[in-house]
Symmetry: C2
Subunit: 198 residues, 2 copies
DNA sequence: TACACAATACCCATTTAGGGGTACAAATGG
DNA sequence: CCATTTGTACCCCTAAATGGGTATTGTGTA
């Protein structure tokens, strides 16, 4: 039987963390781990059988790396959804958090129902994405992404070459490989796929 | 002096509506009106000097048209942001609401801070959109959009021509006009703009 | 250390796109 | 009813993109 996709809890207050874990387990969510700080989170994710689908992340956690940064990092790494959990409601924090495009921003004090709704939304979003898998994912290296972005901004290969201080032949090689690797026929299509499949 | 963009409150419980209005006014938000049902909301919006930027909408309101449908309609009409307000947390309602891509889904009972955070997120999103108005909007006719879509799917001009049973020269004319009218230099860029600016 | 991969760069070739001009019938809007 | 827009189509040309092959360098990692 297929288990539900997992949830990672990032919260340094043990009592809060435990209560969240209990609540999620009662509702039959799969908790892959509880992290107290960034290092824990990364270790849990790398050791887990499958990456987290949703992370519930306190914004104010111990350690150098703060919640917003950590969540943004994990989201990019594992393409998971983010739910922020915080007592902070100041404009600066909200804006920073909002930049990572979280599914929900749950402000403390919150009710169990509020947190569960956030989870529902997260899993609904994941389900939506799985329903429409146009292309698995674009396979692009760092340099390739960079060139693709410039081309989508309207630059020609020659202009890209000048901007990056490389030969136009190199740019052409990169473009050719991008299309071949991903089995697509033209750059307009690649730009389209980048915008939809991320 | 420029006023803040307006907020429309849609809530049929008068006491709740009033308390929300008071809270928003205290925080210097501009409340353009309080609607008790769909008809009120539409009337207020059409009579307002400027359309609402954000609507705070109760999901369970009086009348035939429900909150989710109304909010979706208003969002499309006025390109405003939606904040849902509800006591309902059942999966079906949450999913339906989530379809309209609201900025926030505030579950009752909620604190003032939770509602204000939602407002902050909504205005932050609006501000972000205004900050990056790369191109007002793409000026494309029906046929042009059709051709642009096919090109973004990877078809060449020749393939588009065959698919639409028109001359390749016609396709090229359309493509040339699209770029000239919108003052852009290549189709990858046009596809990029279509995906961002709609 | 050996191997894979990323990034660089050149050669060849053909096809396509971009940019210019012109024209005309049909549809649309004042 | 007339002017504008839209869709259609042709001509020209140059620049750019696509597709193939090959090779060197550094950078990690098995």
């Amino acid at each position: 039987m297929i288990r539900n996709p997992g949830v990672l809890i990032i919260e340094d207050e043990l009592i809060t963390a435990s209560s969240i874990e209990e609540l999620l387990l009662e509702e039959d969510y799969e908790v892959i781990g509880v992290a107290r700080e960034a290092g824990d989170a990364l270790r849990i994710c790398s050791q887990a059988i499958e990456p987290p689908a949703v992370i519930v992340c306190d914004i104010n956690i111990k350690g150098r790396i703060q919640g917003v940064e950590l969540a943004g990092h994990l989201k990019e790494l594992y393409q998971c959804e983010v739910i922020f959990l915080t007592a902070y409601a100041d404009t600066k924090t909200v804006k920073a958090a909002f930049e990572t495009d979280p599914v929900m921003y749950v402000v403390k004090p919150y009710t169990d129902v509020q947190l569960l709704v956030a989870l529902q939304m997260a899993f609904h979003k994941i389900y939506q994405q799985k329903k429409a898998p146009i292309q698995t994912r674009l396979d692009l290296t760092g340099r390739e992404k960079e060139i693709a972005m410039l081309v989508s901004q309207g630059l020609s290969s020659k202009q890209v070459a000048r901007k990056l201080f490389i030969s136009i032949e190199t740019v052409k090689t990169h473009r050719r490989r991008m299309l071949q690797k991903n089995n697509i026929s033209s750059f307009p299509h690649l730009v389209y796929l980048m915008s939809t499949a991320g």
